[in-house]
Each structure stands twice: as structure tokens, then as C-alpha cells.
């Protein structure tokens, strides 16, 4: 049986081989697996470099700086700051890259902190408190009771999880120890934390299982071409 040449066939064949090379890790570390890994890292690095040049540096820095007017001279500032970052490669000249790094870290930290406070902390706290805004019992006490229990469990989970990460302790003859109430809440919070980690693990496993299924499906379909 002759197959028509197509680039899809070529890419499919490459994908098939690379998939087998990655799956060969089941028998242990081997050169095939290493080749596939190195190939993936190299291609990813090259693609990222191409994207960074084509979609960031060229259209947003160099072309405006070259083709633009005097108003675009301000672009020299990010250009100089970017070049100073290369000074970090030399131990002697590392100090020259400190201003650029400081700008990146400072702005990034400000954005992250502001977003965390305004986008997560306040809304989540408000949401946890609003759980106790129960409907009227007249609407049905089972529903009301259910919502109340749900709110209490959520409150208990929140407080106990925070107590679990409370590490301040008093010094005693037997060593540093937390208060008894904190200890009890930390124990309960430990249960909630464990449940959360279990859910996270299950989700990761589900995602990996989906990826495996997709690859197996690909292999079967590719082999089906020749069968």
C-alpha cells in the first residue's frame, strides 16, 4: 500500500516517534528519552526567542525607535535598561543590572500585591462572610439549615486552615508550644488541608490521564493508517 506524501504524514511520523521515545522512560532513563527531552527543550527555547523578537522587540522597540520621530526617543530608556540586564552575566558588572532588576521586581511586586489584595483577599473575605446571609427561614428550614451548615463548615474550614499555618508558640519547659485552642483548631485545619491536597492530586491525575488517553489515541490512529 502506498501512502501519498503529505507533510501531515511526516509530522505524524515524527510525533509518533517522539511519543514512543518519551514513553520509553517506563523502562528507565535511556538515550531515546533524553533525545526527546533535549529536542523539546531546544525547540521550545527557539520558538520563545522567535516569538519574543517577532512580537515584542521588533515591532514595539526597534522599529518605532528607527522609523519613529523624536517622540520615540523615550524608547531608549527601555532599550538601555534591557541592555543593562546583560551585565548580570558578569560578576564584576552585575551591579549595573541592579536598576533594571529593581524596576522589574518593584513593579511586579506592586501589581501582584495590589491584585492579591483587591482581587482575592477582600472579595474572598466578603464572600466568606456573606455565606451567613441566610435566606429567611420561611422559605424553608431545610434549605435554611443546609445553608447554615454549609456556612459553618466553610467558616470552620477557613479558621482552622489559618490556625494550621499559625506557628507562633510560647516557650515552655517542655519546649515551644502553641496554645491549646490553636492546637485544636490546627488539628481540624489539618484535615481540611489534607482534603485540599487530595483534590489537587486527583485533578492532576485526571489531567495526566487525559493526556495519556490522547496520546494512546494518536498512536492507535497513526498505526491505523498503515493498517
Amino acid at each position: 500500500m502506498t501512502l501519498p506524501f503529505s507533510w501531515d504524514l511526516v509530522t505524524g511520523l515524527i510525533s509518533f516517534l517522539l511519543t514512543l521515545m518519551i514513553l520509553s522512560y517506563l523502562i528507565g532513563d535511556n538515550p531515546a528519552f533524553r533525545i526527546a527531552i533535549y529536542l523539546f527543550i531546544g525547540v521550545s527555547a527557539g520558538y520563545v526567542a522567535a516569538i519574543a523578537w517577532n512580537q515584542v522587540l521588533k515591532p514595539r522597540l526597534f522599529l518605532p525607535l528607527i522609523q519613529g520621530g523624536w517622540t520615540n526617543l523615550l524608547l531608549l530608556v527601555p532599550l538601555i535598561l534591557g541592555l543593562l540586564m546583560f551585565a548580570k552575566l558578569s560578576p564584576r558588572l552585575a551591579r549595573l543590572g541592579n536598576p533594571s532588576l529593581a524596576l522589574i521586581v518593584g513593579v511586579g511586586a506592586a501589581v501582584a500585591v495590589g491584585g492579591a489584595v483587591l482581587g482575592t483577599l477582600f472579595p474572598q473575605t466578603e464572600a466568606a462572610a456573606s455565606r451567613f446571609a441566610l435566606p429567611l427561614i420561611a422559605e424553608g428550614w431545610p434549605k435554611w439549615l443546609g445553608l447554615l451548615v454549609e456556612a459553618l463548615i466553610m467558616l470552620l474550614g477557613t479558621i482552622s486552615t489559618l490556625a494550621f499555618f499559625h506557628f507562633s508558640a510560647k516557650s515552655t519547659p517542655r519546649g515551644p508550644q502553641r496554645g491549646k485552642i490553636i492546637d485544636i483548631l490546627a488539628g481540624v485545619g489539618q484535615v481540611f488541608v489534607a482534603i485540599t491536597f487530595g483534590v489537587l492530586s486527583a485533578g492532576a491525575f485526571a489531567a495526566a490521564m487525559t493526556a495519556l488517553i490522547e496520546r494512546m489515541y494518536f498512536l492507535v490512529n497513526f498505526l491505523g493508517i498503515f493498517g
Binding site: I27, Q55, G119, T120, G203, A207, T210, A211, E214
Partner: protein, 718 residues
Amino acid sequence: MADQRCPMCGKLNPEEQEICLFCEARLKPLIANIPSYPEFDPPVEKKTDQPADQTGQKDMGASKKPISSWLMSLGNKSEEEQDAKAGTFGGNDEYPASDFSPASAVNETDREFREWLAGLRNQTSPEVRPETPISNENENTPIEPEQEIRASSIPEQPLTPAQKPEDESIPEWLSRLGGDSTDQGGGESSTPVSEIAVTEERPLTENISNENIPPWLQVLEPKAEIPTDEEEQLPEWLSQLPSIPAVESTSESSSGFNANTETNNRERQAEAENIDWLAQLKSSLGEKPRGELQDASSIGSEGTPIPVDETESTLPATELPDWLSNLHPEQSEKTSPEAGDQGNLRATDLPSWVQALRPIDSVITYSAPAESDERGEEETSGPLAGLQGVLPSTPWVGNIRKPQAEAVKLQVNNNQQRYAAQLEKMVRGEGQAQAKKTQELNPSRILRLAISVILIAVVLIPIVLGGSTIPELNLYPSEWVMTNQTINEIPAGAPLLLVFDYDPALASELEAAAAPVIQHLVFQGARLALISTNPTGPALGEQFLQATQNAFPEKDLIYTNLGYLAGGPVGITAFANEPTEAAEFTVRGDQAWQTPSLRGVSLLSDFGAVIILTDNADTGRLWIEQTRNKISDTPIVMIISAQAEPMIRPYLDSGQIQGLVTGLVGGKVYEQAYATPGKARLYWDSFGFGILAVEIMIVVGGLWGVIHYVRGRTKVRI
């Protein structure tokens, strides 16, 4: 030819020999630094001693003790040595101070004493009779020891007439000194101490007269009798003698010749001490019979008399050296049997400096030491004669054997031996080439392989066999209603922002979950704009939309790929504030906000909805945090991976997002709800069997762990 006696082995050697033929000891001493012993230094001021000497002279003169032969032998000296002697003791007229160093003092004193004796001899007798022993007035005095001294000590030195004493009051015994001294062998004395002692006294070159004769010498008279043991008493001249021990005789002479004031002081102190112990000795010997030995440690101490040979000539206490005062033939003979351990070499044969090296016991103490056998063998020759437990001084005598090689056994215990063997093994193994270890299957590796085989088999079987074994979902997730409602409320033809922030590794899951949603939106005529903070996002989005287009060719899919958004959270913030500035161009370089997909859109709130596709909880959180405040009523729908659901669901519960589709299950639900089978349905059976297999393995593994733990506890208790 006069022979000289070896001080070590006691054998006679020719006069010209410097080294003994038998024991190879040095016969003629070398000049050496002799330590000074202040307590035994001779008195400096002869003037002060004169009264005592004069007193002693009176007493000594009355005793009329016979002159010892040893003293006779002290007179032989060459004229050169006598001439060279300018003075003897420092500090007085008779013995002016000199600058002789201790190293040269020995020879100097020796020379002086010889000169002095030679002078005496010349005064008494013009001829020197070398071979004639000095006749002793004291007939009882044995002559042989003194003859030996004479033979080995003073060389022949005939006195010149100028040296003869002018005064006829010179004792007779002194006048006889010259003849005997000439009988002695020529050459230097083998007993440097005796020479030193001789030189100590007086140079023979000086004119001997009453004025020049030292007081102690004037009173020296030969003993009339040799006292018996019962009659032995400390001679008067001896009682007045200063204690000048033999050990320090050389030092005395050296210090005596030294003009150092410190030495003179030491001499004065020694003189006072000597007078004390001599007086004590006199009193004790006067009470005790001759031969009674005293404790060696009491020498010099107050109240301890020292036995003295009564036959010795009376000499002034200030000048008589210790060896000279102790030299007594009778005493030496009598002490030898009493001591028992004094050795064959008598004290008279030893020079004073040698005797000084002895412990006090061997010099003074004559009593047989107790427990002598326990202290080892007694040395019988050499300067250490009489001592016990000493190393042999004549190693050449006797058998010289090679020391026995003794086996050295190291005391080690079992642990140390084990450690040593282990260390040796390790060191030996370093030099040996070791074969490469073959990889062996360990239990964990086998288990991992087994699990992999099971999972692959479980996944492959439904794919290969086909069909649908796993039933459809009967229960929808709680977020399905909200999500469906949100998507249905999006106006038709509204611009939608699609954020493709997931990695290629989980593209299968996200595509399976997003496909029905996007299809739903495409069927509504939505305009799509793609953007990503992941460099691979634009490519993935492009591929996804191409696949969707291919699935629905009748529908024209309108979309704009805004490409990669750099800066992470800062880029998201910038895009949220000014989207036209943050993403100005498309991936093809076109003006993005002029495309049909983004016509009329200038702010983020102009979008009909923001649909975020991500497999990372942090990325989704960033988009929510940065854009929530910028878009007031624009809904946010998140299509996420199953692993990010626990972290993103609170945002759904808090109302910050309005729709949530989670993984393959969410896509399956959407497909089932809209009866649009897709990838979710293809993967559903394998997914179901795989999840079931994993659940079974988890349960079995947990039970095995519990059983193993219980069994371990049981063994510990037993």
C-alpha cells in the same frame, strides 16, 4: 720512663700517651668549662685567713704530721710552668687575682702548683730525685698510693737555687718534696685534679720564704705517727683547713684565678662554710674512732664532722682542696672493706674533679650501703667506681651484642581489628577496577512498571475495541447551570476575548473541555480575539480554532490573533487598562484593532465576555485579579484543567467569575447537554476505565499498607 695511670681503667700507660691504650680514655685532660661552685670556692682574702692560718699554723705545727706521698708528688713542674704562673688565688698578695677563665684555670692551677712545689723542692734539695720516693717522716703512712700519685701527677721540675727557700724554717717534710717529685714520670699528670690542687696551692716559681710561704704550708709537718684507728683524731691542721671538696677543686682554681668579684664573694662564703664543717668534723672524729663513716648528705652541713686522714700533711684550711684533705692511704684502704661497694679503684687514684662527679656517698660515706644488691651491680672501674646501677662505662669490655629484636605486639581489640581490616579492604579496592554493576530490577521499579502496564492496557482496550461502555453522566456539576446561563446571555456577534494560557502538554484536556463551549459561541456568531501571556499560546489558539473550523466548515470563523502579551501580571494590567496599546498588532503584523473581529472595541469592557483557558491556577488568578475591576459587567468564563479547579472554584463561589468548565468532565457535560459529541466522548470510556483502575489500585495499596503496619506493630510487641 715514668708511666701514667689511666683514670678510667687504672692501668699504666706510657707517659707520652694521651689516650689510654686499654680503654681509650683520655689521659691528659682537655681544657673545659668547669662550673663554679661558690660554696666550695677557696677563700679570696688570704689576709683574713692569715689569722686563722696562723692559728692553724700553730696548731698544725704542733702536730708534726708526716707529709703524704701524694703531696710529694705534687711538686714536679717544669720551669716554664712555674714562670708562667704569675699568681694564683685572687685577692691577696700571695695569690693575686688573675684573669684565668675557668676553661684554662685547670692548667693554670696545675702549673702554679707544680711551680710552687718545684720551688719548694729546689729550696730543700738542689737535685731532683725522680725515682726516689719521698720518705715520710710518718713511718706508718703507706707510701704506695702516694707513689702512684707521684708517678701520674707532677712532672719533674728541678727547683732552681733561686727558688730555694731562703728561710731555713721551712719544714723538713717540705724540703723533701723536690726529690720525690722528680721521680715521677715526666709529662703532665694524669690526674688533673691533683695538678690543679697543686697549682692551687702555690706556684713553685715563687721564692719560698717565711713571708712567701703560705701560712697553711708553714704549719704543714710530717706526721710523727700514723695513728691507729683508736688513736685517730682529726689533725689540728686539718681542722683548720677550709673545706675545699674535690669536685670543686677545679672550679676553685678557676674561680680563684678569676678576678670576678662575684667569685671572690663566693669564695668568702665557701670559706666560712668550710671552716664550719671542718670544725664539726674535727669534733666528731675526735669522739668517734677512725673509719667511722658519716652520712654523705651531711657533708658541709653544720655539726657533721668529716673523717680525715690523720696521716695527711697539715695544710691550711683555706687552700687545701677537698680531694687533698680526704686523700689518705690508710683511710682509703680501711674504707674499702667497710664500704664494700667502693670499687677497686681507690679514691686516691682519682683526681679531685672526678671524685667531685661522684655522688657524695661514694666520696665520704664509707658505710656499706644498705640494699646494695638490689640496686644492681657495682661499678668497679672508671670514674663511676662504687656506684650501682649505672651503665657500663667500658662498653668495649665484654661482649658487645646486637640488641635483640623484640617483637612489637600491638594491643588491639576485636573492633579495632575489624576496622583495620575494613580500611585495608577499602584501600585495596581503590586500586582495583570494578566491574560495572548491571542494573537490577528493584521492587519499586517493578511496581512502577506494573502500574504503567495496567494503565496503558486499561486505556488502550476501549480505544481498540471501540464502543461505549461507560454510561453517560446523570449528574451535572453545579457550575454547569451558571456557565450555560452565562454563555447563553452573551449577545450574538459580540466580540469575545479568548485567553489561551495553557501549555502544550495539557492541550488535549483543554481542547476537549473548550471545544463544545467554543462551538457553542461560534454558532452564536461571536467574534473571537485570541491573546496569551504564554509564548506558545498564540500557536495553540491558532491550532485550536483551525480544528474547530474544520469541524464546522459551514460556519465562518472570525477571529484575530493578538499574539503574545509580554510582561506577565504587568502585561495583563496594561492590557486591562489600555488593550489597544498593549496589543497593537496581530501575529501577522496587522493593526489588530482595525480587524473585523475587534471593530468597535477599544476597552476591555467592550468585549461581550472574557473566556480564559488555562491549566495553571496562578495564571487564572492573575487574570481575575487584574481584569475584574476593569470590566464591570463583562462576564468571565474560565475553562480550566482539573488540577486547577480547587484553586479557581472559590472565585466562582465568590461571584468573581460567572462560568467554570473543568477538564474532560466539564467538556463531556457540555457535549452531553448540547448533544454534540466530541473528543470528550472519545476519551470518556478510557477515562472511566483508567479512573476505575486507579481507584482500585489506591484501595488495594492502602489496605496493603495498613496490613503491613499492623504486622509490624505485632512483631514489635512480640
